[in-house]
């Protein structure tokens, strides 16, 4: 089922502080962002429920990364509001972890993999005695169990990105914001990491907000895909991805439904790009 209206489902008025299974975790109401006279985002309405995997796509300049940064608390909106658990998002929170696109620049090069993960634990005030075990556990989860003592410069792009994810997971966040995390990686690595990410979000129950320019990736990963128009960034398309889970790189991508969704999304983007 395809909805092309501006909102997937309306945000409940006066969202209750205590969440129920259906109350959205992240709410965005009529959000707008203006920088130096340019309207980057306008009239964004979204509601993201707990455990959902939402992907955002759009032509370059549509503000998808900016939207992510607003949700990360790195930039307050100039209009409207973004709410987390009903409370306005005005500053970063450790419950919302962000994974940046440029992994090399987001890791501390002078710290080993283990020490980089430790950074998150340090800021959380995680008990010192338990840190080593927790770090080991997290690195194992992302498949970096053998690389604890390596420096980022000794690790491949895929490994560095996994390290960033491990650090994000260390915060035990409810929400994972990912900004084109696999964009700079080769196809094989990308596919492996896509499946790992699906596994991780499933096992931790984290909500994911995933920005990408790879349309097939968005469909493969997401429960919903939101398409943005550019200049100003506004929602143009919301696709419900009714593909079976768990997803498989070969089988899922060959399903007729996948191809239908793909067609729909591609047409939207083509239209959005020429606008």
């Amino acid at each position: 089922m395809v909805i092309t209206a501006a909102a997937a489902f309306p945000a409940p008025a006066g969202a209750p502080a205590a969440e129920t299974a259906t109350a959205p975790l992240l709410t965005v109401r009529d959000l707008g962002l203006e920088i130096g006279g340019n309207t980057i985002l306008s009239g964004i309405d979204m509601a993201i429920g707990r455990g959902e995997f939402v992907c955002v796509v759009g032509p370059s300049g549509c503000g998808k990364t900016t939207l992510l940064r607003v949700l990360a608390g790195l930039r307050p909106p100039t209009e409207g509001e973004a709410l987390y658990q009903g409370q306005p998002l005005v500053r970063p929170s450790r419950e919302i972890a962000i994974v940046f696109q440029e992994y090399a620049k987001a890791l501390l090069p002078w710290r080993t993999a283990a020490a980089n993960v430790s950074l998150a634990l340090e800021t959380m005030g995680y008990p010192r005695e338990k840190r080593a075990a927790r770090i080991s556990e997290l690195l194992q989860t992302v498949g970096l169990g053998d690389s604890a003592g390596k420096y980022p410069s000794e690790m491949s792009g895929g490994m560095q990105q996994r390290l960033q994810i491990a650090r994000a997971l260390a915060l035990e966040p409810s929400v994972l914001l990912l900004d084109e995390p696999f964009g700079a990686l080769d196809a094989m690595t990308r596919q492996g990491l896509q499946d790992e990410l699906l596994q991780l979000t499933k096992s931790t129950g984290a909500t994911a907000f995933f920005v990408t320019h790879d349309l097939e990736e968005a469909i493969y990963l997401g429960d919903r895909v939101i398409g943005l128009h550019a200049r100003p960034g506004r929602i143009g398309l919301v696709l419900d991805i009714d593909l079976p889970k768990p997803r498989h790189q070969l089988e899922t991508r060959e399903l007729p439904r996948f191809l239908e969704l793909r067609h729909e999304l591609f047409s939207f983007i083509k239209g959005a790009e020429s606008a």
């Binding site: 990360a72 608390g73 790195l74 500053r91 970063p92 929170s93 450790r94 919302i96 972890a97 962000i98 940046f100 440029e102 620049k105 987001a106 501390l108 090069p109 002078w110 710290r111 080993t112 950074l119 998150a120 340090e122 800021t123 420096y151 980022p152 410069s153 000794e154 915060l171």
Partner: protein
């Protein structure tokens, strides 16, 4: 590979030895006056005698002591001040005038000013060394702080790190390569200013030792002192290389 390296090293040393022999022959046969250029043998003898029986070892110790005190103090001060300035873009803008003016100034140019203020004293020498050696480290620290990858600040923000934690865990470690290269320059400046200070004040040290050797036309003793100063420079360089290798292991 290692063998090749060792062979070249041996050949290079042989070349050096050959040059020393040529040096010897040139002086022995009067091609260059013994007054200006002592023979290798007499230089070695002066070095040996000076260290074992004479005052050269003591003088060396004085020079090294002054240099290290001045340099360590200056480095610490430079890092602290550099961090304070570097942390804030505002501070950097306001300090830019002073820093850009002092940067190209010869460190030794403050010596006459220091003499005017503090006289020809030990205190003046130490003050000059510290003043001269502060700037390379300070400027390097400011640069290190100013060039932190903005993404890392955002990581700090999203992890809700305190200002102090950001300085301690991000800005400062990021600046270590810069600080080390600043300290490298600082130690060179410190050595130079130590020697200059000793030459001008006549206080005990290699600087005054070689000046008086020159005045008394004692070329072997003069060259012996120069060699010791060269060794001092060499050893500090090696030690800093080792520190750098240790601290910058994480670089590819």
């Amino acid at each position: 590979m290692i063998l090749q390296r060792l062979l070249w090293l041996a050949a290079s040393t042989a070349v050096f030895a050959a040059l020393v022999v040529i040096w010897h022959l040139v002086v022995e046969n009067g091609l260059i006056n013994r007054v200006f250029l002592p023979t290798p043998v007499s230089t070695w003898e002066a070095l040996y005698a000076g260290i074992l029986h004479g005052s050269l070892l003591g003088a060396w110790g004085e020079t090294v002591r002054r240099m290290i005190y001045g340099w360590l103090f200056a480095s610490l001060l430079g890092v602290v001040l550099g961090a304070l300035i570097g942390m804030s873009a505002q501070a950097r803008a306001y300090m830019s005038g002073i820093l850009e003016f002092i940067r190209p100034l010869p460190a030794s140019a403050v010596v006459p000013v220091a003499i005017v203020l503090l006289g020809l004293t030990e205190y003046m020498v130490l003050a000059v060394i510290a003043f001269g050696a502060v700037w390379p480290t300070l400027l390097a620290t400011v640069h290190g702080f100013a060039s932190v990858e903005p993404r890392l600040y955002e990581v700090g923000q999203s992890l809700r790190m305190s200002r102090w934690d950001v300085v301690r865990k991000i800005s400062l470690p990021n600046s270590v390569p810069d600080i080390l290269s600043g300290m490298r320059i600082s130690v060179t400046v410190a050595l130079i200013l130590t020697v200059v200070g000793e030459m001008l004040t006549g206080r005990p040290g290699l600087g005054s030792a070689i000046i008086s050797s020159a005045r008394m036309f004692q070329a072997p003793q003069l060259f012996a002192g120069v060699i010791l100063l060269g060794i001092t420079g060499y050893v500090s360089s090696i030690l800093l290389n080792l520190a750098e290798a240790r601290l910058l292991r994480w670089r590819s």
